[in-house]
Subunit: 876 residues, 2 copies
């Protein structure tokens, strides 16, 4: 049987969203519910996919079906394309499975040509309306279908206004509009070397194809990547009879929400304009009226609309966002969809609807986007202040929140100025571990280089500090105390503002409003906690971060990156002494200095976590990360260390690696240098013993995690160093404290041999960052250069470092989880990479049946909700 | 039932080699055959493994069994440990499954104490012999079991000789020997703080433990790694009654081979000494006699020995290497094993034995070590000249063969001097692609840095040039025209010699002898070709290499690294123009220059291969490999390119990557820069069309291989560039030439998703170098720093870049092969990494059922034989 690629509105319903797109399915559903919807038909998403399969051609089969349905539409409406008596005009709109507002193309008033325009002029008695519609159509068609510059059309209008000596578009007469139509057609002809098509069928077919094409325009691809919408969904196309809100004073158009999308208040919220088309509401030439006022202007339509609103909300069990048009006093519904809302509104609506008995708590949980919660946890720009500001550049939204402060160029400067009580934004080419303290005191961090998982981004997210990264437009002259964007120069001390949720950078101070967590939040999160199966831990390296994460609901720490502590105070000095040590005695002396400092670090964390589990990962990065790189710093360090500069340079040069990501790091450091693992073990065990003494009720059981393990023998070797040291200390202390030793699974080989590794590992924590790097062969630090080209070429749709690659990396995770359980059925499994805070990745992790995810403190609430949603969905 | 850890010689046989070790199994076999073997027992390899499992303790169960078997031995021999009448003396020797000559420890004369020495002195009537044996035992025991310095014992002897005013050991009297015994015991006491053990049982138990321990001494670990012997095999220990070749003139000892191990001649070959112990033969104090002469000295023993030799060779169907001792005219066999032999001898023996009807051709094929063939293909040092030379340093045997020449420090110098007819050795810190021409004209390459898979090593093996790499002892002052090893200075123009088969470097000219391939070789390789299932291809980048590989039996090219051609002549200039191109026109101009040059390259290769299949891989390395790094070269290039130095520096700095191995390379270059893939496609297709025109009978079908693919969409994208370009050219040429497009599998993700990739890939070639890097997370360039520690710690036994890691990487290969075949049952599968020339890896590849391996030209014969052996073994 022939495949059905086209559906009349009255053939579909809301369940057919995948096939008909959101808009098409909802138009069909409203038709089904007997609501007034202008007739039309939907060309399916499958037709779109077929179009791409066929190398961007609409095949004859689909074309024939479209023609067949056009005929049906003409029959239903009694109007005909190009008819001199009763011409059919249609809109052609995209409509994907998920709402992608503004990303794809729309064409209105399709079907007009000279004959039709004249007919409309006559029938409506409004020639200006007729020719205005005509010129708008030409303009829109030329732009959307043919890619002709919009600008030139505006110039033609300006030229005519100049000729006519008028300023306002409204002063243009019907004849002027006719002139514009002629001039537009002329420009179309010269610009494209062909006449503007007069055959409405041709117009329609070209428009449909343009909509298909727009599925893969750059901004749609970008939007999909940001919103996690697969490229193979495709878009449907809706062809719908036009109704006109601009045919007279008993006409109008508007948009409305069933509840307030900003606050969540349960009250109809919206705007309308009489005698206007949709684009006029958006354009803001005239000020729209509040929806309540429609009652006075068009009481019948209003009452009908209110009734429909209530029915739709009850029907969809969600707040609705609707478009309507009133044509000669008659109401038409053009769209309904679940409305976008602020996080605050989302929580209120969810809680209210539960209270109203409209939905149950599971439905409430599914109603809120986990990512949205983020905005509740960070300061944001004041909306009015923001509206008045203009971005000077835009880069990656690396860590959410908003910050405003004076420019500083180094961590030292940041600390100095912050101590004076100033607010600062730290602007750097890129950050390094040495910058951590300076980052902590800044209102935000702006970097020229680096992606979403650069050092700056990762650390900022951990701190909850806002960060914009990869701002390549910035020309840095930090040595001279300024930077340049385009033709604007920004000096040290100038005010700038950055929005880590959008990536925007502003060249001025913008007022911020603090984070606000409402009562709905606690109630809602409790539902999530009751529902989720996954435990949520956090990645935290300091007592402060740990406490913050607990406040956000973390149930433990899944990853303490011990090296992040190494840059504080005297520790870095001792680390460097260790690195330059030439004899065993020097090495031991340096480690002896470090041990009590590390112990204190761990005690602080154990205290902050009050008995919750804490997984401590041993030293992971290559040692060259701890030595300075610029000649002055090296000179200074040589003096401090009391060794020759040449000698130090030799040490540093010996540490150099061609591919440091795959170099001498992780447990490889423990193999070559067991003293480090011994020292860290002593620090962990002593800290736990001490804190247990003060708080016996906490009963801390240390979890020691060995990084970058690739073989059972390697794990055994390092584990033995750990257990020998730990057992001796515990015995000496006369304690019977238990502890666990586990491993990161971050090297593909460890995943492949997880059954063997599990013989010695009591738990696995998937380090999905490194696992992603090695599985793809992508250097996280370098992939930024070529990944954008992969997005454009539609090879990859998501940054695999932000969203877990379920096909490839996920296959390894699944394999490792299964193999691990085969050997050790009760093995504890978690994820501690950046993906631990990503809802889609959490969904996958839940499906794999792992025990927990660990994410940065500020993502804990997101993870809690995402985990609850995963439980609900995976139960289905 | 209790496990049996000890076997009397008469309880075992040759099939129990895994349990009893080679020596033990063969002693048992000879016993069984009724040959005269001194009684003894073997402690199994399982006891050794148990010893390590128990943290290096011999447990009570094993101890008890040893004591039980000692009692049996005492009963069999009628002698007793420590007995004043008839004392039992034993040797304690290691014996692993595979022969590891000299790697582990041996103790002779065990059982002597003061009482026993006196008894022996009396019974033998030879007190000097008795006390000489005693002092030797103390010395050996102290060294092997207790690790006491051998040197001090030699000093004590020298001191006594000085006191006595004598020079020759032979002048030492029985009383002198007694004095030495006392002084040795005294030194033992002060050195170790304990008395020399007088209880023979204690002596034995400590000796056994020392042998177990010696399984893991550094040289044994190194030997195992070099010879591919697993560490978990363990060693057996043989405790055997001593017989003495040094008790008088009717005593003697010797070693012999059933055939000549140097030439293979079928004639008994060996040496003996009368009135001597084994170590005297080795020490070279007296000159041993030819084995024939034994006929005159001890005719009965000789006849018996000749008879035994013949029986043993017939029994083992292999040339035997035997040790014997004659005690008072009676012959004792102390060992037999398959004899080591030169490659030439190995081939002759294998062919002769087939002709003699002793073995069939399969057995002949299994008899020759594939690696050995290598020595037939390269020049070698003249054996006598080599014996007279002393190495100044030793490093990695990176590419086999021997070379002698005058020192040069740059590729240019090498070319200049070679043109003058001089022989040169190129000495470099490390080589880069720019050095290729200089390498080609040198007698050998010596590098300070880099491992077995460094650039120098890989390229040299490809060329068949000898190379020693990673000679870290060299202190390089190439700018000043010299280098230093220890206290020796070597100037430009000085003669040195390097042995790429051993890694030795000599500070002088040494005569070399050219490669010689005998008639046996052709005959033998024909058997291999008839037997093997795997096809053997070669990795070759030039017509010269290709022709060489064909001469060695290659059936095609599995890997043309197109980038290796880029450094010749004008090509590098055009490449650099492409890299610095700022506009599409500049880019096109550069590519237009390159295309005919590449086409000519490919035509040369197609012609050399005369219709054999050729797989051409597209540009793989990151572009920064093609730009200079030092300021002078950059300045020159800027001038050549006619661009600013700053601008060029900017281009170069933009190309910099943190982890280039995982960076912008492979097909990622084709995605960002389709012009390169188009140019290479045009060159391949036009070359094939041209050569097909001249040689229609060859019917070349180009095989285009895309590197570093990680996703189906990526492959599709790049393949489309290829097919669009290729189809157009083929159509224009009016040809119907076919071509294949396939992919490297070298990124773990490609292996995991091989079922998808196979939808578009017509063949897979496993790039096991990169696959190993990414699966382990080991940077090949950096792992050299920590891998040695992994060997010492017994975590890894082999360099995973030399020997395919079957557990981890192999699992991915197997998975990918299965998934690929699932989608495309007839998919062609091969390996083109370095492992393609490694026999153990070839064995694995054969087991996986892949179609071919591809290796460097000089490894083709090795691969042919290894593949035949794999077929034979895998059929079992």
């Amino acid at each position: 049987m022939e495949k059905k690629y086209v559906y009349l509105f009255n053939e579909g319903d809301a369940n057919m969203r995948n096939l008909l797109g959101g808009k098409g399915a909802n138009l069909a559903e409203m038709s089904k519910l007997g609501m007034p919807v202008p007739n039309g038909f939907t060309i399916t998403t499958e037709a779109c996919n077929k179009y791409y399969e066929d190398d961007e051609v609409i095949n004859d089969e689909i074309k024939a079906q479209i023609m067949e349905y056009l005929a049906k539409l003409e029959e239903e409406t009694g109007k005909k394309f190009g008819d001199a008596e009763n011409p059919l005009l249609v809109s052609v709109r995209s409509g994907a499975r998920a709402s992608m507002p503004g990303m794809m193309d729309t064409i209105l008033n399709l079907g007009i040509n000279d004959v039709v325009a004249e007919t409309i002029a006559e029938k409506s008695g409004n020639p200006r309306f007729a020719y205005d519609s005509y010129r708008r159509f030409i303009q829109m068609f030329a732009d959307v279908v043919k890619g002709l510059s919009k600008k030139r059309f505006e110039e033609i209008i300006d030229e005519l206004k100049a000729e006519r000596g008028i300023k306002d578009d409204l002063e243009l007469t019907a004849d002027d509009m006719k002139t514009l139509v002629e001039r537009f057609k002329e420009f179309y002809r010269t610009g494209l070397g062909e006449d503007f098509p007069t055959d409405p069928k041709q117009q329609m077919m070209e428009a449909i194809e343009a909509v298909f094409r727009s599925w893969n325009n750059d901004r749609a691809i970008y939007y999909r990547r940001m919103n996690d919408i697969p490229g193979d969904w495709g878009t449907a196309v809706n062809v719908q009879m036009m109704v006109f809100g601009n045919m007279g004073e008993d006409c109008g158009t508007g948009v409305a929400f069933t509840r307030n999308p900003a606050t969540g208040e349960n009250k109809l919220y919206g705007e309308f304009l009489m005698n206007a088309q949709g684009e006029d509401v958006v354009a803001g030439v005239r000020t729209p009226k509040k929806i309540d006022q429609l009652k006075e202007v068009s009481p019948t339509a209003y009452d009908q609309f209110v009734d429909i609103c209530s029915k739709l909300e009850n029907h969809y069990k969600n707040m609705q966002d609707m478009e309507f048009t009133i044509e000669n006093g008659k109401l038409f519904m053009l769209q309904t969809r679940n409305g976008k809302r602020t996080a605050q509104a989302a929580l209120k609506i969810a809680c209210d609807m539960v209270d109203e008995g409209l939905i149950n708590t599971d439905e409430a949980l599914m109603m809120v986007e986990p990512q949205q919660l983020d905005s509740l946890l960070h300061p944001m720009f004041d909306a009015d202040a923001l509206a008045a500001a203009e971005a000077v550049t835009s880069a990656l939204p690396a860590s959410p929140g908003a910050g405003s402060g004076q420019i500083v160029f180094s961590a030292e400067e940041a600390k100095e100025e912050a101590e004076k009580g100033k607010k600062v934004i730290l602007v750097r080419l890129e950050t390094s571990p040495e910058d951590i303290e300076g980052m902590a005191v800044s209102q935000g961090i702006l970097t020229v280089r680096g992606g979403m998982t650069s050092h700056a981004a990762v650390v900022a997210r951990g701190m909850g500090a806002c960060c914009v990264s990869g701002a390549g437009d910035i020309e840095m002259h930090d040595d001279e105390g300024y930077f340049v964007i385009g033709d604007k120069k920004f000096n040290r001390g100038d005010w700038i503002s950055i929005d880590g949720s959008t990536g925007n950078v502003y060249g001025e101070a913008i007022k911020t409003v603090p984070a606000t967590i409402s009562g709905d939040f606690e109630r809602f999160m409790k539902w999530a906690d009751d529902r989720r199966r996954l435990k949520i831990r956090t990645n935290a390296d300091t007592p402060r971060d740990a406490a913050q994460a607990v406040a956000f609901g973390a149930e433990g720490i899944g990853l303490v990156r011990t090296e992040h502590m190494f840059f504080e105070g005297d520790k870095i000095k001792a680390i460097r002494e260790m690195i330059v040590a030439k004899t065993d005695d020097q090495m031991k002396a340096a480690l002896d200095k470090l041990e009590p400092m590390q112990q204190k670090d761990f005690e602080g964390i154990y205290e902050a976590m009050e008995g919750r589990p804490v997984t401590i990962r041993y030293l992971d990065p290559p040692l060259h990360e701890f030595v300075p790189t610029n000649p002055d710093d090296i000179k200074e360090l040589a003096r401090e260390m009391n060794i020759g500069e040449d000698e130090l340079n030799q040490v540093i040069s010996n540490l150099h690696e061609v591919n440091p990501m795959m170099g001498h790091r992780g447990s490889r450091l423990a193999v070559s240098n067991p003293g480090i693992a011994k020292m860290q073990t002593a620090a962990v065990i002593k800290a736990a013993l001490n804190v247990n003494k003060a708080h016996p009720e906490w009963n801390i059981v240390p979890e020691i995690m060995l990084p970058l393990i690739g073989d059972l023998a390697e794990l055994k070797y390092v584990k033995k160093i750990v257990t020998t040291t730990a057992d001796e200390i515990i015995k000496e202390a006369g304690s019977d404290m238990k502890y666990h030793v586990g491993t990161m699974i971050e090297v593909p080989r460890a995943a492949l041999l997880a059954d063997e590794i599990a013989k010695e590992a009591e738990f696995f924590s998937f380090g999905t960052n490194d696992l992603t790097q090695l599985t793809f062969g992508f250097s996280r630090d370098d992939a930024g250069k070529f990944l954008p080209q992969y997005y454009s070429a539609k090879i990859y749709e998501n940054d695999p470092f932000a969203r877990l690659d379920q096909n490839g990396v996920g296959k390894l995770v699944e394999m490792a989880a299964n193999l691990g359980r085969q050997t050790r059925p009760d093995i504890k499994l978690g994820v501690c990479g950046e993906h631990g805070g990503d809802p889609a990745s959490i969904h996958f992790v839940d499906k794999m049946g792992l025990n927990y995810v660990s994410c940065s403190p500020y993502r804990v609430p997101i993870a809690r909700l995402a985990a609850a949603q995963a439980t609900i969905e995976n139960e289905k």
